[in-house]
Symmetry: C2
Subunit: 435 residues, 2 copies
Amino acid sequence: MSTKKTNSARRSENEGGAATGSGGGVSRRRLIGGAGAAGAAGLVLGAAGGAGGYAATRDDAPTALTTLGSAEEMFHGKHQAGITSPLQARGHLIAFDLAPGAGRKEAAALMRRWSAVAERLMAGRPSGDGAGHDTGVALDAGPSSLTVTFGFGRTFFDRTDLVARRPAGLDPLPAFSSDRLDAKRSNGDLWVQIGSDDALVAFHALRAVQKEAGAAARVRWQMNGFNRTPGATARPMTARNLMGQVDGTGNPKPEDSDFEQRIFVQAGGPEEHAWLQGGSYAVVRRIRMLLDDWEKLTVERQEHVIGRRKADGAPLSGGTETTKMDLDKAGPDGKLLIPDNAHARISTPEKNGGAAMLRRPFSYHDGIADDGTPDAGLLFICWQADPFRGFVPVQRKLDRGDALSPFVRHEASGLFAVPGGMAPGEYVGQRLLES
Amino acid sequence: MSTKKTNSARRSENEGGAATGSGGGVSRRRLIGGAGAAGAAGLVLGAAGGAGGYAATRDDAPTALTTLGSAEEMFHGKHQAGITSPLQARGHLIAFDLAPGAGRKEAAALMRRWSAVAERLMAGRPSGDGAGHDTGVALDAGPSSLTVTFGFGRTFFDRTDLVARRPAGLDPLPAFSSDRLDAKRSNGDLWVQIGSDDALVAFHALRAVQKEAGAAARVRWQMNGFNRTPGATARPMTARNLMGQVDGTGNPKPEDSDFEQRIFVQAGGPEEHAWLQGGSYAVVRRIRMLLDDWEKLTVERQEHVIGRRKADGAPLSGGTETTKMDLDKAGPDGKLLIPDNAHARISTPEKNGGAAMLRRPFSYHDGIADDGTPDAGLLFICWQADPFRGFVPVQRKLDRGDALSPFVRHEASGLFAVPGGMAPGEYVGQRLLES
């Protein structure tokens, strides 16, 4: 009944900040239209009237407007959604600790509930009867590219008596000299990343995930973020962060020959870690931007800190945003055009043994902090097959000599192993929890 | 040079939660397209390359995507923008107090600076050189329906020695028994409401407004909010709040014969208040929703609290969302279908001497409060020609017997006189400050 088609237009044309296809080369998106969507939207709460909006109005609704709401990310696939999915306008990060007394059995039941609700919500359906009725907050809207992504923290393996199957990739991150980490907002047994192009759809999913946690897990921390709204720019643009910098230019791309092996855990590792094949590691850092200080710099000074032009992200060595940096090029005065301590120079894979990670962040802004400065910055999230060959070496170098350091402060940190995608009928982490 | 056209399609078709036209019947929106827009976008920071995206790509960009970013609200007009403008996806509220020692002269200079920057930003131009360079955060995007709206609180008139010209509409709101107001997040000398369909454009405007305050005013409080993203629903829908309720059904509409006189201050008042003609009063309430409690109710119980169906907002007396409530209709058991204490019954203009206000809220969600409950709810903003004939009588009645009361908590409150729109060359409040 459902009319499904591949959404090759809106999402891929509209977002430049993250990769737009799954590494497996299969599009995992579809658009809902026609009767199938009416069924999905109208099903909620058994409404007879206003909720069945899609079918009643699909002919007179502006096509592209329908597109934003009806764009759907696939729950099933080789990898979990929310890793190579285009950046969404709104995001929630939430970490849980298993409740006292909860162990592997309760964790497995929780992952089964969470998987079921994520699958339903990502398809634009109500959250179901698992732990009560749907809150109705997402009524009228389509899934709006909702993704719900699940990960396990280091402590999860202690709590579930699965230490023998904990991969070395979950070893604690080293301390960095510029860290000012708040332990209460760091790590956690379980991590959920929610993203959607509609803020109410994202909030709806957040509440559903919290509710399904039931007595099995307690919220440890929760953060909100955002990105540009699809359509705010007239053509695909790499994202900007709250410093005004183009951010994400050097990201690995799905069409790179080594994309899959850099970002996702490959087959062939030790048997006890086979459960993570097709998965990835997320490093999450709440990076406060000291905007009052940053904004005092001239644009020229800011560009020297970054090593790229503010207006278009082009390297100071010339060209356009996508031109390769010429790290040796000097100006008429003999000085390097991209300074020695420029952020872009220090973090480039070229200078880090090819260390690559897929950055897929949200900006955050939680109003004004107690000291009167903006509580704003980046919910930095990077994805890699091995955090000790992705995030860690780059951050070590940045920690030693990045010109950007005086303007940022790492306030929280998390490291999570994110299982691969699920086959129909499978729940997230089943291969770990039922083996 | 600039190709301007009336945007009668996207905005009015897409939003139902607030009125979509100015009361004066003149559309105050336009779409940027072609060379004029390229000038606006490309001007920023004098960028030669990537910033001039509109002109370079207008032929290959998807039309509707361009529309969201390029939709522009007019700074000049009969009324300030942001009152009858369609709800935007992202909003910031910020209140300032004049700095110690600052008086009428400093206030006038500040309003002149703020007006200039608001006009530039609403047209998609950089913030200018008033107090430093543009932060660049809005680069690449169009104005995305940005509005910046300014108001004066009661204390402003003391600080500027203008008490004789303070209207009675700024008398303190009465205390309500359900108030749990935080004085530090209430009121203020000056209030600015920022809205945009793009979160980075809104943040950019917020920082520009803060920067232009300079030494003249200090931030008193600041709050962030959101609404549905345009296109998340397939047809015009009244907004939903975080309780999942359709919210805004009974709003006055610009086509109502008495819309102008209910919402905007009319000519013919005392001469000393003539400066407010064409203006309005904003009542701002931060209304926390006790969602953990609310979500425990069955949908049926929630509907009895509200008096309307959750799925589509139709009154429990029958019909569709826009059907008039039948307040006397009883069910087979003889009980009123819309209970005596139902929120919709108590707040209906019919039961409040026709008291009407234009509700134009943002939802808010600031993560999890110290007590573990969601710090979420409604940044309720209502507009009326006289708050003591709009908000106050309705809130008094709600305060006495609203079934919704146990599920909400008013945590902050503000009342602001919002001057009318500006003629070109005029700044906001000039008629007050230079008389």
